[in-house]
């Protein structure tokens, strides 16, 4: 648990951070968001004393950060920054093992941990002998995350870690990080200026302006009840749409389907299910609806697959862009889990809007 007690930072005579009193819960991702110059990065850097607070205190599990020496304080936390900051003259292996080396771990323990981390971030172990310049931006940032996790710290500080990555890779890094957090349960302080990112990954969001904390709350609460005009503007006009990112498709799944083999298509007589997915060995050829069955093969449609963690907004956008009305949920471990209909998803949107106007 990280507590801020009357925390302030002054640069010359001006407050960069003003009188923060907050508690960050264990195992949660707390996102700090706000326009540039709002003090979010300064706040983050005070936690590991890269910037020394002018007034007030920060307590970690009840112990003041001033009771640690700053070097061992920093070694006890993971730190990821936008520039990634991998050491260009070190191999990936050496980059990941920096903190364990500083902590004087034994060779075997470091070896084991590095391999474990490569599996965790889903990169091949053959990368370990490469140098950072041989990796793509997204891969480098995964290594950056692995490096921060190397000594298995309880706390992870992340300063716009995905900010410099292109939108497609950023989305996959966000998905990756959300998945990772489910197993790791670290206490994460995450700085961003991207509201979509904040809503997507945050368990709690702190909106900052001019060094002050305007609102610190769960994403749903912030979207439902923005505290003032500033927060409302930050969320933008599409606040209602943003709320769709908080719902998962799995809540709308329908299971009225059957998987049939390619050669069974003509043989089936009793059309009991709403939807038939046509399997061709290890692939899926397409699907066919009950109502279209007698029309035969030409009504087989291409399947839009989504994964089980997908949120409503991304699914709706995907379906609209493909011109389809049905998406099939496919889970890597468990195969096909069911399907969702665009109409159901849009109805939710109307309901959400209704709730908001009340």
């Amino acid at each position: 648990m990280i507590e801020f007690i009357n925390l302030s930072k002054k640069f010359k005579e001006k407050y960069a951070v003003k009188n923060l009193n907050l508690t960050f819960n264990d195992g949660e991702i707390s996102v700090l968001i706000g326009p540039s110059g709002c003090g979010k990065t300064t706040t983050l850097k005070m936690i590991n004393r890269l910037i020394e607070p002018t007034e007030g205190n920060i307590k970690i599990n009840g112990k003041s950060i001033f009771d640690f020496d700053e070097i061992s304080l920093r070694r006890s936390m993971g730190y990821v920054i936008q520039e990634i900051g991998l050491f260009p003259h070190y191999t990936i292996y050496k980059n990941i093992s920096i903190v364990p080396e500083l902590l004087k771990w034994e060779k075997e323990k470091i070896d084991k941990r590095v391999n474990e981390l490569m599996d965790l971030i889903n990169l091949p172990r053959t990368y370990l002998n490469r140098y950072p310049k041989e990796l793509s931006g997204g891969e480098k940032q995964r290594i950056g995350v692995a490096r921060a996790l190397a000594s298995d710290p309880e706390i992870l500080l992340m300063d716009e870690p995905f900010g410099a990555i292109d939108p497609i890779n950023r989305k996959s890094l966000q998905d990756f990080f959300v998945e990772l957090q489910k197993t790791l349960k670290k206490t994460v302080i995450f700085v961003t200026h991207d509201i979509l990112e904040a809503i997507k990954i945050g368990d709690r969001i702190g909106v900052m302006k001019d060094g002050e904390m305007i609102q610190f709350d769960k994403p749903q609460e912030i979207l439902k009840r923005p505290k003032n005009k500033f927060v409302e503007e930050l969320l933008g006009v599409n606040r209602n749409i943003l709320r769709l990112t908080l719902s998962k498709v799995l809540d709308f799944v329908k299971k009225d389907f059957r998987i049939i083999n390619k050669d069974e298509v003509e043989e089936i007589k009793n059309f009991n299910n709403f939807l038939y997915i046509i399997k061709n060995e290890n692939n899926y050829d397409g699907f066919i609806l009950k109502k279209d069955f007698e029309k035969g093969r030409e009504c087989i449609r291409e399947i839009v697959f989504i994964n089980e963690n997908e949120n409503l907004l991304d699914t709706i956008i995907l379906l609209l862009s493909k011109g389809e009305k049905i998406a099939v949920i496919k889970c890597i471990e468990r195969g096909i889990m069911g399907y969702v209909e665009l109409n159901d998803l849009i109805k939710v949107f109307e309901k959400e809007e209704y709730e908001l106007s009340n």
Binding site: I71, R75, I84, G85, P88, H89, L102, G144, R147
Partner: protein, 213 residues
């Protein structure tokens, strides 16, 4: 060619003398240059002032600089000989080393230093494990430039009685002895080329693999 072979031991002696003056000045200039380079990397304003002063010194033509040194050092009876030559060589070789040290430090990615700090490296560890290895390529290039430059200027320092390979060129001109001039030119050129390539080789092998081009 015959002249060259007949005077081989004298030539080697003068080569040694030449290298001696240049090396002494280069060692002093390396110590000074690296220290100044590191110190000025903390403040851009001071850095630009110091670098400007060193560049101005660098642009003084070598003959004038010897003249200036003679007039300054004569009262101490140090106006001619090896001492003013070494001072002049230090002044000339200081710029490439200082500038390259400074540029090397400044060109290290800020994110690398920041993350090193954030991961809990102390000042010494940051200098040893990051700044130093990453500065090697540019620093070595500066030393190489300085050395080659020093060999050239060292030739002229014969005129103020510092000895060295300049003897063959200047004496050769005086006596209209083409063999002597030829000997001087060839030895100095070979020396420069040899030094340049051996330092280049060292530079390359000291450059960490991950930052090689």
């Amino acid at each position: 060619m015959e002249y060259l072979l007949n005077n081989l031991s004298a030539i080697l002696k003068r080569t040694y003398e030449h290298l001696y003056i240049v090396s002494i000045s280069l060692i002093i200039s390396m110590i000074l240059g690296i220290i100044i380079g590191i110190l000025i990397s903390r403040d851009k304003k001071i850095a630009s002032i110091i670098l400007k002063i060193i560049s101005i010194l660098f642009t003084i033509p070598s003959l004038s600089l010897f003249g200036i040194l003679i007039s300054i050092l004569s009262p101490f009876k140090l106006g001619i000989g090896k001492f003013p030559a070494i001072i002049a060589l230090i002044i000339y070789t200081l710029l490439p080393i200082t500038r390259n040290t400074y540029t090397a430090i400044m060109s290290i990615d800020k994110g690398v230093i920041e993350s090193a700090k954030g991961m809990g490296m102390n000042r010494g560890e940051i200098i040893r494990k990051i700044i130093f290895p990453l500065s090697i390529p540019l620093l070595m290039a500066g030393i190489r430039n300085s050395f080659v430059l020093g060999i050239g200027v060292g030739t002229i320092s014969f005129l103020i009685g510092a000895g060295g390979l300049g003897y063959y060129i200047f004496e050769g001109i005086e006596r209209s002895n083409n063999n002597m001039i030829f000997t001087g030119v060839v030895t100095i050129s070979l020396l420069s080329i040899f030094i340049n390539y051996s330092l280049y080789f060292i530079e390359h092998s000291l450059t960490p693999k991950g930052v090689r081009k």
